[in-house]
Symmetry: C2
Subunit: 299 residues, 2 copies
Protein backbone atom coordinates (compact mmCIF):
# COMPACT_ATOMS: atom_id res chain seq x y z
CA UNK A 1 0.00 0.00 0.00
CA UNK A 2 1.10 3.59 -0.56
CA UNK A 3 2.87 5.83 1.91
CA UNK A 4 2.37 9.58 1.94
CA UNK A 5 5.39 11.51 3.17
CA UNK A 6 5.25 15.19 4.01
CA UNK A 7 8.21 17.15 5.35
CA UNK A 8 11.11 19.27 4.23
CA UNK A 9 12.89 18.86 0.91
CA UNK A 10 16.15 20.71 1.22
CA UNK A 11 19.71 21.23 0.13
CA UNK A 12 22.25 20.38 2.82
CA UNK A 13 25.81 21.68 2.79
CA UNK A 14 27.83 19.55 5.19
CA UNK A 15 31.39 20.41 6.12
CA UNK A 16 33.82 18.10 7.89
CA UNK A 17 37.47 18.74 8.76
CA UNK A 18 38.40 16.86 5.59
CA UNK A 19 35.70 17.58 3.09
CA UNK A 20 33.02 19.99 1.91
CA UNK A 21 29.80 18.59 0.57
CA UNK A 22 27.81 21.47 -0.89
CA UNK A 23 24.13 21.27 -1.76
CA UNK A 24 23.47 17.60 -1.12
CA UNK A 25 19.89 16.41 -1.36
CA UNK A 26 18.52 16.59 2.18
CA UNK A 27 15.51 17.37 4.32
CA UNK A 28 13.30 15.14 6.43
CA UNK A 29 10.91 14.20 3.63
CA UNK A 30 13.70 13.44 1.14
CA UNK A 31 15.41 11.01 3.53
CA UNK A 32 12.13 9.47 4.69
CA UNK A 33 10.71 9.08 1.18
CA UNK A 34 13.84 7.41 -0.19
CA UNK A 35 13.96 5.10 2.88
CA UNK A 36 10.30 4.12 2.42
CA UNK A 37 10.78 3.56 -1.31
CA UNK A 38 12.73 0.33 -0.71
CA UNK A 39 9.47 -1.32 0.29
CA UNK A 40 6.73 0.11 -1.94
CA UNK A 41 5.10 3.14 -3.53
CA UNK A 42 5.69 6.57 -1.97
CA UNK A 43 3.98 9.92 -2.50
CA UNK A 44 6.01 12.98 -1.64
CA UNK A 45 4.56 16.26 -0.41
CA UNK A 46 6.97 19.18 -0.13
CA UNK A 47 8.25 22.27 -1.85
CA UNK A 48 11.42 23.10 -3.78
CA UNK A 49 12.64 26.33 -5.34
CA UNK A 50 13.61 26.96 -8.94
CA UNK A 51 17.26 26.28 -8.01
CA UNK A 52 16.47 22.66 -7.10
CA UNK A 53 18.77 20.50 -9.23
CA UNK A 54 17.01 18.49 -11.92
CA UNK A 55 19.18 15.47 -11.00
CA UNK A 56 17.54 15.32 -7.56
CA UNK A 57 14.09 15.17 -9.13
CA UNK A 58 15.43 12.42 -11.38
CA UNK A 59 16.75 10.61 -8.31
CA UNK A 60 13.27 10.63 -6.68
CA UNK A 61 11.77 9.43 -9.95
CA UNK A 62 14.24 6.58 -10.27
CA UNK A 63 13.17 5.46 -6.79
CA UNK A 64 9.57 5.38 -8.04
CA UNK A 65 8.56 8.26 -5.77
CA UNK A 66 5.43 10.05 -6.93
CA UNK A 67 6.20 13.77 -7.24
CA UNK A 68 2.73 15.10 -8.02
CA UNK A 69 2.63 16.58 -4.49
CA UNK A 70 6.03 18.23 -4.73
CA UNK A 71 5.42 21.92 -5.32
CA UNK A 72 7.88 23.93 -7.42
CA UNK A 73 7.84 27.56 -6.26
CA UNK A 74 9.74 30.59 -7.52
CA UNK A 75 12.63 31.32 -5.18
CA UNK A 76 15.32 29.34 -3.39
CA UNK A 77 15.11 25.82 -1.98
CA UNK A 78 15.41 25.46 1.81
CA UNK A 79 19.17 25.36 2.45
CA UNK A 80 20.87 24.10 5.62
CA UNK A 81 24.61 24.39 6.24
CA UNK A 82 26.35 22.59 9.06
CA UNK A 83 29.77 21.59 10.21
CA UNK A 84 31.10 18.52 12.02
CA UNK A 85 33.95 18.52 14.50
CA UNK A 86 36.90 16.14 14.15
CA UNK A 87 35.34 13.26 16.11
CA UNK A 88 32.02 13.57 14.22
CA UNK A 89 30.18 13.72 17.53
CA UNK A 90 29.22 17.36 17.40
CA UNK A 91 27.47 19.09 14.57
CA UNK A 92 26.68 22.78 14.53
CA UNK A 93 24.42 24.71 12.23
CA UNK A 94 26.22 27.39 10.22
CA UNK A 95 23.22 28.75 8.35
CA UNK A 96 19.54 28.03 7.75
CA UNK A 97 17.90 29.70 4.73
CA UNK A 98 14.21 28.83 4.59
CA UNK A 99 13.63 30.11 1.04
CA UNK A 100 10.38 28.82 -0.48
CA UNK A 101 9.81 26.79 2.68
CA UNK A 102 8.88 29.97 4.55
CA UNK A 103 5.49 30.25 2.86
CA UNK A 104 4.92 26.54 2.22
CA UNK A 105 1.34 25.30 2.62
CA UNK A 106 1.15 21.61 1.76
CA UNK A 107 -1.74 20.98 -0.65
CA UNK A 108 -2.53 17.36 -1.33
CA UNK A 109 -3.36 16.37 -4.92
CA UNK A 110 -6.81 14.67 -4.91
CA UNK A 111 -5.16 11.35 -5.74
CA UNK A 112 -3.21 11.51 -2.46
CA UNK A 113 -6.15 12.04 -0.13
CA UNK A 114 -6.88 8.40 0.49
CA UNK A 115 -3.31 7.27 1.09
CA UNK A 116 -3.55 4.64 3.86
CA UNK A 117 -0.16 5.22 5.49
CA UNK A 118 0.83 8.76 6.40
CA UNK A 119 4.23 9.92 7.61
CA UNK A 120 4.30 13.45 9.00
CA UNK A 121 8.07 13.81 8.85
CA UNK A 122 9.83 16.54 10.80
CA UNK A 123 8.20 19.86 9.87
CA UNK A 124 6.22 22.54 11.75
CA UNK A 125 3.30 20.93 13.66
CA UNK A 126 0.84 23.41 12.04
CA UNK A 127 1.78 21.98 8.63
CA UNK A 128 1.43 18.43 9.96
CA UNK A 129 -2.12 19.35 11.08
CA UNK A 130 -2.82 20.89 7.70
CA UNK A 131 -1.88 17.65 5.95
CA UNK A 132 -3.96 15.56 8.35
CA UNK A 133 -6.94 17.84 7.60
CA UNK A 134 -6.70 16.79 3.96
CA UNK A 135 -6.31 13.01 4.22
CA UNK A 136 -9.40 10.84 4.37
CA UNK A 137 -9.50 8.04 6.96
CA UNK A 138 -5.85 7.03 6.88
CA UNK A 139 -5.07 3.54 8.19
CA UNK A 140 -2.02 4.63 10.20
CA UNK A 141 -0.40 8.00 10.90
CA UNK A 142 3.04 8.46 12.42
CA UNK A 143 4.65 11.82 13.19
CA UNK A 144 8.25 12.82 13.77
CA UNK A 145 9.32 16.09 15.37
CA UNK A 146 12.34 17.97 16.70
CA UNK A 147 13.43 20.14 19.66
CA UNK A 148 12.75 23.33 17.64
CA UNK A 149 8.97 22.61 17.63
CA UNK A 150 9.02 21.76 21.34
CA UNK A 151 10.51 25.21 21.85
CA UNK A 152 8.41 27.34 19.52
CA UNK A 153 5.28 25.32 18.66
CA UNK A 154 4.50 23.17 21.69
CA UNK A 155 0.75 23.82 21.69
CA UNK A 156 0.01 22.66 18.13
CA UNK A 157 2.40 19.73 18.70
CA UNK A 158 0.46 18.64 21.82
CA UNK A 159 -2.80 18.94 19.85
CA UNK A 160 -1.26 16.82 17.10
CA UNK A 161 -0.54 13.99 19.56
CA UNK A 162 -4.31 13.31 19.86
CA UNK A 163 -4.60 12.89 16.09
CA UNK A 164 -1.87 10.36 15.37
CA UNK A 165 -1.29 6.64 15.96
CA UNK A 166 2.42 6.89 16.61
CA UNK A 167 5.04 9.43 17.57
CA UNK A 168 8.76 9.08 17.00
CA UNK A 169 11.25 11.35 18.79
CA UNK A 170 14.73 11.12 20.19
CA UNK A 171 15.60 10.61 23.84
CA UNK A 172 16.45 14.22 24.60
CA UNK A 173 13.19 15.36 22.97
CA UNK A 174 11.27 12.81 25.07
CA UNK A 175 12.88 14.33 28.17
CA UNK A 176 12.07 17.86 27.03
CA UNK A 177 8.44 17.03 26.19
CA UNK A 178 7.73 15.33 29.52
CA UNK A 179 10.20 16.97 31.93
CA UNK A 180 11.17 13.42 32.87
CA UNK A 181 14.74 12.07 32.81
CA UNK A 182 13.76 8.42 32.95
CA UNK A 183 12.83 7.16 29.50
CA UNK A 184 10.40 4.49 30.77
CA UNK A 185 8.44 7.11 32.72
CA UNK A 186 8.70 9.58 29.81
CA UNK A 187 7.18 6.97 27.46
CA UNK A 188 4.24 6.48 29.81
CA UNK A 189 3.64 10.24 29.94
CA UNK A 190 3.73 10.54 26.15
CA UNK A 191 1.12 7.77 25.82
CA UNK A 192 -1.13 9.83 28.11
CA UNK A 193 -0.81 12.70 25.62
CA UNK A 194 -2.37 10.58 22.87
CA UNK A 195 -0.31 8.20 20.74
CA UNK A 196 -0.75 4.45 21.36
CA UNK A 197 2.68 3.85 19.87
CA UNK A 198 5.75 5.84 20.90
CA UNK A 199 9.23 5.22 19.57
CA UNK A 200 12.27 6.79 21.20
CA UNK A 201 15.37 6.98 18.99
CA UNK A 202 18.71 6.76 20.79
CA UNK A 203 21.11 6.97 17.81
CA UNK A 204 23.97 4.48 18.16
CA UNK A 205 22.21 3.01 21.21
CA UNK A 206 19.19 1.90 19.21
CA UNK A 207 15.50 2.52 19.73
CA UNK A 208 12.73 1.71 22.19
CA UNK A 209 9.23 0.97 20.91
CA UNK A 210 6.40 1.30 23.40
CA UNK A 211 2.90 0.11 22.58
CA UNK A 212 0.10 -2.32 23.41
CA UNK A 213 2.60 -5.20 23.50
CA UNK A 214 4.87 -3.49 26.02
CA UNK A 215 8.37 -2.35 25.29
CA UNK A 216 10.56 -3.54 22.45
CA UNK A 217 14.26 -2.85 22.98
CA UNK A 218 16.11 -2.68 19.66
CA UNK A 219 19.87 -2.15 19.74
CA UNK A 220 21.22 -0.29 16.71
CA UNK A 221 23.04 -2.20 13.98
CA UNK A 222 26.70 -1.67 14.94
CA UNK A 223 28.65 0.30 12.34
CA UNK A 224 32.42 0.41 12.18
CA UNK A 225 32.35 3.59 10.16
CA UNK A 226 30.06 6.54 10.79
CA UNK A 227 30.31 9.06 7.95
CA UNK A 228 27.32 11.36 8.45
CA UNK A 229 24.31 10.72 10.68
CA UNK A 230 22.31 13.60 9.11
CA UNK A 231 18.93 12.17 8.08
CA UNK A 232 19.34 8.89 10.00
CA UNK A 233 16.25 9.60 12.12
CA UNK A 234 14.21 10.48 9.01
CA UNK A 235 15.44 7.31 7.29
CA UNK A 236 14.48 5.30 10.37
CA UNK A 237 10.86 6.42 10.36
CA UNK A 238 10.69 6.26 6.55
CA UNK A 239 11.94 2.66 6.51
CA UNK A 240 9.61 1.79 9.36
CA UNK A 241 6.41 3.03 7.69
CA UNK A 242 7.54 1.79 4.27
CA UNK A 243 7.94 -1.72 5.64
CA UNK A 244 4.63 -1.58 7.55
CA UNK A 245 2.74 -0.48 4.45
CA UNK A 246 4.24 -3.33 2.44
CA UNK A 247 3.23 -6.11 4.82
CA UNK A 248 -0.05 -8.05 4.90
CA UNK A 249 -1.56 -8.99 8.23
CA UNK A 250 -1.82 -7.27 11.55
CA UNK A 251 -0.03 -3.98 11.83
CA UNK A 252 0.54 -4.68 15.51
CA UNK A 253 2.30 -7.96 14.69
CA UNK A 254 4.55 -6.28 12.11
CA UNK A 255 5.59 -3.33 14.24
CA UNK A 256 8.69 -4.79 15.89
CA UNK A 257 10.03 -5.99 12.57
CA UNK A 258 9.24 -2.53 11.13
CA UNK A 259 11.51 -0.97 13.77
CA UNK A 260 14.31 -3.26 12.61
CA UNK A 261 13.76 -2.31 8.98
CA UNK A 262 13.85 1.36 9.91
CA UNK A 263 17.07 0.82 11.88
CA UNK A 264 18.67 -1.04 9.00
CA UNK A 265 17.91 1.74 6.51
CA UNK A 266 19.16 4.33 9.03
CA UNK A 267 22.43 2.39 9.39
CA UNK A 268 23.01 2.66 5.63
CA UNK A 269 22.19 6.38 5.80
CA UNK A 270 25.01 6.93 8.33
CA UNK A 271 27.57 5.39 5.98
CA UNK A 272 27.63 8.25 3.49
CA UNK A 273 27.03 11.99 3.16
CA UNK A 274 23.50 13.07 2.38
CA UNK A 275 21.65 10.22 0.69
CA UNK A 276 24.70 8.47 -0.79
CA UNK A 277 24.82 5.81 1.95
CA UNK A 278 21.10 5.08 1.73
CA UNK A 279 21.25 4.86 -2.06
CA UNK A 280 23.88 2.10 -1.82
CA UNK A 281 21.36 -0.06 0.03
CA UNK A 282 18.93 -2.52 -1.53
CA UNK A 283 16.15 -4.71 -0.18
CA UNK A 284 18.55 -7.65 -0.21
CA UNK A 285 21.24 -5.73 1.70
CA UNK A 286 18.68 -4.50 4.23
CA UNK A 287 17.57 -8.08 4.83
CA UNK A 288 21.17 -9.26 5.20
CA UNK A 289 21.75 -6.60 7.85
CA UNK A 290 18.59 -7.65 9.72
CA UNK A 291 19.70 -11.30 9.69
CA UNK A 292 23.10 -10.22 11.05
CA UNK A 293 21.30 -8.18 13.70
CA UNK A 294 19.25 -11.23 14.66
CA UNK A 295 22.44 -13.25 15.14
CA UNK A 296 23.83 -10.47 17.34
CA UNK A 297 20.78 -10.32 19.59
CA UNK A 298 19.95 -14.02 19.90
CA UNK A 299 20.90 -15.54 23.27
CA UNK B 1 32.16 -24.13 40.96
CA UNK B 2 33.73 -21.42 43.11
CA UNK B 3 34.41 -17.84 42.13
CA UNK B 4 37.34 -15.89 43.54
CA UNK B 5 36.68 -12.16 43.76
CA UNK B 6 39.46 -9.67 44.50
CA UNK B 7 38.92 -5.92 44.62
CA UNK B 8 38.09 -3.14 47.01
CA UNK B 9 35.97 -3.55 50.13
CA UNK B 10 34.97 -0.08 51.17
CA UNK B 11 32.61 2.19 53.01
CA UNK B 12 30.69 4.53 50.69
CA UNK B 13 29.02 7.71 51.88
CA UNK B 14 26.56 8.78 49.21
CA UNK B 15 24.77 12.10 49.36
CA UNK B 16 21.78 13.11 47.28
CA UNK B 17 19.76 16.33 47.39
CA UNK B 18 17.27 14.49 49.62
CA UNK B 19 19.25 12.08 51.69
CA UNK B 20 22.60 11.24 53.24
CA UNK B 21 23.71 7.64 53.29
CA UNK B 22 26.82 7.44 55.44
CA UNK B 23 29.17 4.45 55.50
CA UNK B 24 27.23 2.05 53.30
CA UNK B 25 28.93 -1.22 52.39
CA UNK B 26 30.64 -0.57 49.05
CA UNK B 27 33.69 -1.27 46.92
CA UNK B 28 34.11 -3.26 43.72
CA UNK B 29 34.68 -6.61 45.45
CA UNK B 30 31.74 -6.19 47.84
CA UNK B 31 29.30 -5.51 45.00
CA UNK B 32 30.77 -8.21 42.76
CA UNK B 33 30.91 -10.85 45.49
CA UNK B 34 27.31 -10.29 46.57
CA UNK B 35 26.20 -10.35 42.91
CA UNK B 36 28.04 -13.63 42.27
CA UNK B 37 26.67 -15.17 45.47
CA UNK B 38 23.19 -15.55 43.94
CA UNK B 39 24.55 -18.36 41.80
CA UNK B 40 27.09 -20.27 43.92
CA UNK B 41 30.06 -20.19 46.30
CA UNK B 42 32.24 -17.07 46.39
CA UNK B 43 35.63 -16.44 47.95
CA UNK B 44 36.43 -12.84 48.79
CA UNK B 45 39.92 -11.33 48.79
CA UNK B 46 40.26 -7.80 50.15
CA UNK B 47 41.13 -5.76 53.18
CA UNK B 48 39.12 -3.90 55.79
CA UNK B 49 40.20 -1.76 58.75
CA UNK B 50 39.29 -2.21 62.39
CA UNK B 51 36.40 0.25 61.93
CA UNK B 52 34.65 -2.10 59.49
CA UNK B 53 31.17 -2.74 60.91
CA UNK B 54 30.61 -6.26 62.18
CA UNK B 55 27.17 -6.21 60.50
CA UNK B 56 28.80 -6.02 57.06
CA UNK B 57 30.88 -9.12 57.82
CA UNK B 58 27.67 -10.80 58.92
CA UNK B 59 26.03 -9.72 55.67
CA UNK B 60 28.79 -11.40 53.62
CA UNK B 61 28.49 -14.49 55.78
CA UNK B 62 24.72 -14.68 55.32
CA UNK B 63 25.34 -14.64 51.56
CA UNK B 64 27.63 -17.67 52.02
CA UNK B 65 30.69 -15.66 51.00
CA UNK B 66 33.95 -17.20 52.23
CA UNK B 67 35.88 -14.51 54.16
CA UNK B 68 39.13 -16.42 54.79
CA UNK B 69 40.80 -14.15 52.23
CA UNK B 70 39.46 -10.91 53.71
CA UNK B 71 42.31 -9.33 55.65
CA UNK B 72 41.59 -7.29 58.79
CA UNK B 73 44.29 -4.66 59.22
CA UNK B 74 44.77 -2.06 61.91
CA UNK B 75 43.62 1.33 60.63
CA UNK B 76 40.66 2.67 58.70
CA UNK B 77 38.65 1.00 55.96
CA UNK B 78 38.83 2.52 52.47
CA UNK B 79 36.21 5.29 52.53
CA UNK B 80 34.68 6.98 49.50
CA UNK B 81 32.32 9.97 49.70
CA UNK B 82 30.36 11.21 46.73
CA UNK B 83 27.44 13.41 45.89
CA UNK B 84 24.70 13.21 43.27
CA UNK B 85 23.11 16.16 41.54
CA UNK B 86 19.34 16.59 41.41
CA UNK B 87 18.81 14.59 38.23
CA UNK B 88 21.07 11.72 39.42
CA UNK B 89 23.04 11.93 36.20
CA UNK B 90 26.20 13.43 37.63
CA UNK B 91 28.12 12.12 40.58
CA UNK B 92 31.16 13.82 42.00
CA UNK B 93 33.71 12.49 44.44
CA UNK B 94 33.92 14.51 47.64
CA UNK B 95 36.66 12.55 49.36
CA UNK B 96 38.68 9.35 48.96
CA UNK B 97 40.46 8.00 52.05
CA UNK B 98 42.50 4.90 51.16
CA UNK B 99 43.17 3.85 54.76
CA UNK B 100 44.32 0.21 55.01
CA UNK B 101 43.89 -0.10 51.26
CA UNK B 102 47.03 1.97 50.72
CA UNK B 103 49.35 -0.87 51.75
CA UNK B 104 47.10 -3.77 50.71
CA UNK B 105 48.88 -6.78 49.21
CA UNK B 106 46.36 -9.51 48.44
CA UNK B 107 47.60 -12.85 49.84
CA UNK B 108 45.54 -15.87 48.84
CA UNK B 109 44.86 -18.51 51.48
CA UNK B 110 46.16 -21.88 50.20
CA UNK B 111 42.57 -23.12 49.84
CA UNK B 112 41.84 -20.32 47.31
CA UNK B 113 44.73 -21.05 44.94
CA UNK B 114 42.87 -23.51 42.76
CA UNK B 115 39.65 -21.51 42.37
CA UNK B 116 38.49 -22.14 38.78
CA UNK B 117 36.76 -18.79 38.15
CA UNK B 118 38.64 -15.60 38.96
CA UNK B 119 37.22 -12.09 38.94
CA UNK B 120 39.81 -9.34 39.17
CA UNK B 121 37.34 -6.61 40.11
CA UNK B 122 38.29 -2.96 39.79
CA UNK B 123 41.55 -2.45 41.70
CA UNK B 124 45.12 -1.41 40.78
CA UNK B 125 46.44 -3.57 37.90
CA UNK B 126 49.58 -4.41 39.93
CA UNK B 127 47.36 -6.03 42.56
CA UNK B 128 45.41 -7.87 39.86
CA UNK B 129 48.75 -9.28 38.61
CA UNK B 130 49.71 -10.21 42.15
CA UNK B 131 46.54 -12.27 42.55
CA UNK B 132 47.01 -13.97 39.17
CA UNK B 133 50.56 -14.92 40.25
CA UNK B 134 49.05 -16.88 43.13
CA UNK B 135 46.22 -18.78 41.40
CA UNK B 136 46.98 -22.15 39.85
CA UNK B 137 45.60 -22.83 36.34
CA UNK B 138 42.29 -20.98 36.67
CA UNK B 139 39.61 -22.03 34.19
CA UNK B 140 38.52 -18.49 33.38
CA UNK B 141 39.77 -15.05 34.39
CA UNK B 142 37.90 -11.80 33.84
CA UNK B 143 39.19 -8.36 34.80
CA UNK B 144 37.40 -5.07 35.32
CA UNK B 145 39.15 -1.70 35.41
CA UNK B 146 38.51 2.04 35.53
CA UNK B 147 39.73 5.31 33.99
CA UNK B 148 42.03 5.95 36.97
CA UNK B 149 44.23 2.95 36.01
CA UNK B 150 44.26 3.99 32.37
CA UNK B 151 45.64 7.32 33.59
CA UNK B 152 48.18 6.22 36.18
CA UNK B 153 48.89 2.50 35.58
CA UNK B 154 48.51 1.91 31.85
CA UNK B 155 51.61 -0.27 31.44
CA UNK B 156 50.72 -2.93 34.04
CA UNK B 157 47.13 -2.84 32.73
CA UNK B 158 48.31 -3.54 29.18
CA UNK B 159 50.48 -6.40 30.47
CA UNK B 160 47.46 -7.76 32.33
CA UNK B 161 45.46 -7.97 29.10
CA UNK B 162 47.73 -10.82 27.91
CA UNK B 163 46.99 -12.84 31.05
CA UNK B 164 43.19 -12.79 31.12
CA UNK B 165 40.37 -14.41 29.17
CA UNK B 166 38.00 -11.47 29.33
CA UNK B 167 38.02 -7.74 29.96
CA UNK B 168 35.05 -5.66 30.98
CA UNK B 169 35.13 -1.87 30.76
CA UNK B 170 32.76 0.96 30.03
CA UNK B 171 32.43 2.74 26.70
CA UNK B 172 34.42 5.83 27.65
CA UNK B 173 37.22 3.62 28.99
CA UNK B 174 37.22 1.64 25.74
CA UNK B 175 37.64 4.93 23.88
CA UNK B 176 40.42 6.06 26.20
CA UNK B 177 42.28 2.73 25.98
CA UNK B 178 42.21 2.60 22.19
CA UNK B 179 42.01 6.24 21.15
CA UNK B 180 39.07 5.16 19.02
CA UNK B 181 35.60 6.74 19.13
CA UNK B 182 33.84 3.92 17.32
CA UNK B 183 33.01 1.11 19.72
CA UNK B 184 33.17 -1.64 17.06
CA UNK B 185 36.69 -0.60 16.06
CA UNK B 186 37.69 -0.12 19.72
CA UNK B 187 36.57 -3.70 20.49
CA UNK B 188 38.75 -5.04 17.67
CA UNK B 189 41.75 -3.11 18.99
CA UNK B 190 41.23 -4.43 22.53
CA UNK B 191 41.14 -8.02 21.23
CA UNK B 192 44.54 -7.35 19.64
CA UNK B 193 45.84 -6.43 23.10
CA UNK B 194 45.01 -9.90 24.40
CA UNK B 195 41.56 -10.84 25.69
CA UNK B 196 39.42 -13.12 23.52
CA UNK B 197 36.31 -11.78 25.22
CA UNK B 198 35.67 -8.07 25.64
CA UNK B 199 32.53 -6.62 27.18
CA UNK B 200 31.72 -2.93 26.89
CA UNK B 201 29.26 -1.63 29.48
CA UNK B 202 27.05 1.26 28.39
CA UNK B 203 25.00 1.82 31.54
CA UNK B 204 21.32 2.42 30.71
CA UNK B 205 22.10 1.57 27.07
CA UNK B 206 23.14 -1.99 27.89
CA UNK B 207 26.27 -3.92 27.02
CA UNK B 208 28.11 -5.29 24.01
CA UNK B 209 29.88 -8.64 24.24
CA UNK B 210 32.55 -9.35 21.65
CA UNK B 211 34.10 -12.79 21.29
CA UNK B 212 34.56 -15.83 19.06
CA UNK B 213 30.84 -15.84 18.22
CA UNK B 214 30.85 -12.22 17.08
CA UNK B 215 29.00 -9.45 18.81
CA UNK B 216 26.13 -9.85 21.25
CA UNK B 217 24.06 -6.68 21.70
CA UNK B 218 22.28 -6.68 25.05
CA UNK B 219 19.98 -3.76 25.87
CA UNK B 220 19.75 -2.96 29.58
CA UNK B 221 16.69 -4.00 31.55
CA UNK B 222 14.62 -0.79 31.55
CA UNK B 223 14.12 0.65 35.02
CA UNK B 224 11.48 3.21 35.87
CA UNK B 225 13.34 4.27 39.00
CA UNK B 226 17.08 4.73 39.22
CA UNK B 227 18.13 5.28 42.84
CA UNK B 228 21.91 4.81 42.82
CA UNK B 229 24.00 3.31 40.03
CA UNK B 230 27.11 3.05 42.27
CA UNK B 231 28.36 -0.53 42.02
CA UNK B 232 26.18 -1.46 39.03
CA UNK B 233 29.24 -2.26 36.89
CA UNK B 234 30.73 -4.40 39.66
CA UNK B 235 27.40 -6.17 40.13
CA UNK B 236 27.25 -6.79 36.38
CA UNK B 237 30.59 -8.57 36.21
CA UNK B 238 29.94 -10.37 39.52
CA UNK B 239 26.61 -11.71 38.30
CA UNK B 240 28.16 -12.65 34.98
CA UNK B 241 30.99 -14.77 36.42
CA UNK B 242 28.75 -16.16 39.17
CA UNK B 243 26.31 -17.44 36.57
CA UNK B 244 29.09 -18.82 34.34
CA UNK B 245 30.66 -20.72 37.25
CA UNK B 246 27.29 -22.26 38.12
CA UNK B 247 26.53 -23.64 34.68
CA UNK B 248 27.56 -27.01 33.25
CA UNK B 249 28.55 -27.25 29.63
CA UNK B 250 30.51 -25.04 27.30
CA UNK B 251 31.53 -21.70 28.73
CA UNK B 252 31.27 -20.22 25.25
CA UNK B 253 27.67 -21.35 24.94
CA UNK B 254 26.75 -19.85 28.34
CA UNK B 255 28.39 -16.49 27.80
CA UNK B 256 25.46 -14.57 26.28
CA UNK B 257 23.12 -15.76 29.01
CA UNK B 258 25.78 -14.78 31.57
CA UNK B 259 25.69 -11.21 30.23
CA UNK B 260 21.93 -11.16 30.83
CA UNK B 261 22.33 -12.47 34.37
CA UNK B 262 24.94 -9.80 35.04
CA UNK B 263 22.63 -7.12 33.63
CA UNK B 264 19.71 -8.34 35.71
CA UNK B 265 21.71 -8.20 38.96
CA UNK B 266 23.03 -4.75 37.98
CA UNK B 267 19.46 -3.55 37.43
CA UNK B 268 18.55 -4.54 41.01
CA UNK B 269 21.70 -2.78 42.25
CA UNK B 270 20.51 0.52 40.70
CA UNK B 271 17.22 0.37 42.60
CA UNK B 272 18.72 1.13 46.04
CA UNK B 273 21.61 2.84 47.76
CA UNK B 274 24.74 0.77 48.28
CA UNK B 275 23.82 -2.92 48.29
CA UNK B 276 20.21 -2.50 49.43
CA UNK B 277 18.79 -2.91 45.91
CA UNK B 278 20.90 -5.99 45.17
CA UNK B 279 19.97 -7.57 48.49
CA UNK B 280 16.27 -7.35 47.61
CA UNK B 281 16.91 -9.61 44.61
CA UNK B 282 16.68 -13.40 44.56
CA UNK B 283 17.43 -16.06 41.98
CA UNK B 284 13.71 -16.22 41.22
CA UNK B 285 13.44 -12.44 40.78
CA UNK B 286 16.53 -12.39 38.57
CA UNK B 287 14.99 -15.08 36.36
CA UNK B 288 11.69 -13.19 36.19
CA UNK B 289 13.55 -10.10 35.01
CA UNK B 290 15.41 -12.10 32.35
CA UNK B 291 12.13 -13.57 31.07
CA UNK B 292 10.69 -10.04 30.89
CA UNK B 293 13.83 -8.93 29.02
CA UNK B 294 13.36 -11.77 26.56
CA UNK B 295 9.79 -10.65 25.87
CA UNK B 296 11.09 -7.10 25.29
CA UNK B 297 13.75 -8.16 22.78
CA UNK B 298 11.87 -10.84 20.84
CA UNK B 299 10.77 -9.73 17.37
Amino acid sequence: MSVLVVGSTALDSIKTPWQENPRLLGGSASHAAVAASFFGPVRLVGVVGDDFPRRYLALFERRGIDLEGLQRAPGKTFHWSGEYEVNMNNRRTLKTELGVFETFRPALPPAYRRTPYVLLANIAPELQHHVLDQVVRPRWVIADTMDLWLNIALKPLIRLLRRIDALVLNDSEARQLTGEDNVVVALRKIHHLGPRIVIVKKGEHGAILSGPDGLFLAPAYPLDKLVDPTGAGDSFVGGLIGYLASQPGSLRRNLRRAVLHGSAVASFCCEGFGLTGTLKASLAKIRTRIRAWERMTRI
